[in-house]
Symmetry: C2
Amino acid sequence: MSGSTGERPELASTLRAAGMRVTGTRERVYAVVTEMPHSTPDAIIERVNESGPPVPPSSVYRALEALEEVGVVAHTHLDHRAPTYHRADHARHLHLVCRSCGAVAESPAELAGGLVAALEREHGFAADVTHMAIQGECSTCRS
Amino acid sequence: MSGSTGERPELASTLRAAGMRVTGTRERVYAVVTEMPHSTPDAIIERVNESGPPVPPSSVYRALEALEEVGVVAHTHLDHRAPTYHRADHARHLHLVCRSCGAVAESPAELAGGLVAALEREHGFAADVTHMAIQGECSTCRS
DNA sequence: CTGAGTGCAAAACATTTGCAATGTT
DNA sequence: AACATTGCAAATGTTTTGCACTCAG
């Protein structure tokens, strides 16, 4: 069990509320996602394995799936082969991906407010901008 | 207007301008991308093979790579495992992906004008919205 | 003719799945 | 004790690569 109970009571209770079990693997995966937002399954797998006894890839995938299902983590696709995970309560933000250097910056979701409103008005489309990855070139690479 | 023989004089001349060769495979792949925008490599492979003598997947991938390199086609990531290709001169648009039914709608890129300006102003980030896939729920699925 | 492009088959990856063993409740 | 989760290994699906052959230039 998690010895330090102050940190995030949400994880355990959320899992239990969904009738799911609180396991070491899920706690460790959640900790890694918390620690390094925007990381790929690959990076998460590696980090989890540095953090204690080995966990096979399939278990990490299953843990991510479970955590996502109960809504404590979410993922975004930043580019080609890269789903990246982050905590769901991680502030709503847009992902800015630099095509040159690969850096991922965040920006408040509010900047897309006009776009969201326009899509609602023009298409009746309810956009989820937190899932959105915007490609482009960052200020550093441009200068 | 280029005022010459075919429907798309650009393909052959663009390839040649880049020192690349104009081959049947590339023409057929380009034709399929033109005919069905937003299609995955998988769908393109299938359609190409319906259109004439069989072409192995690897050749279709290589053709797409070549066409993208010279800039006549481009791709976007609509969701998980799905790069989708379209003609580069296909009007600049946003991709609206419905999470429920999977439908892909298009919307003029201008709707994102405010967002692009804000990203430029706030982050010095030059956003390419045509590469952007916006997840959400379409009007049909919401009603 | 010459080398870019192709076809084929195998390799490289990323992710998923079946099932017996394990650990949470 | 009951059964959700895990570990392991094998299956799956996609994209890439090596190499001999072919065809565009």
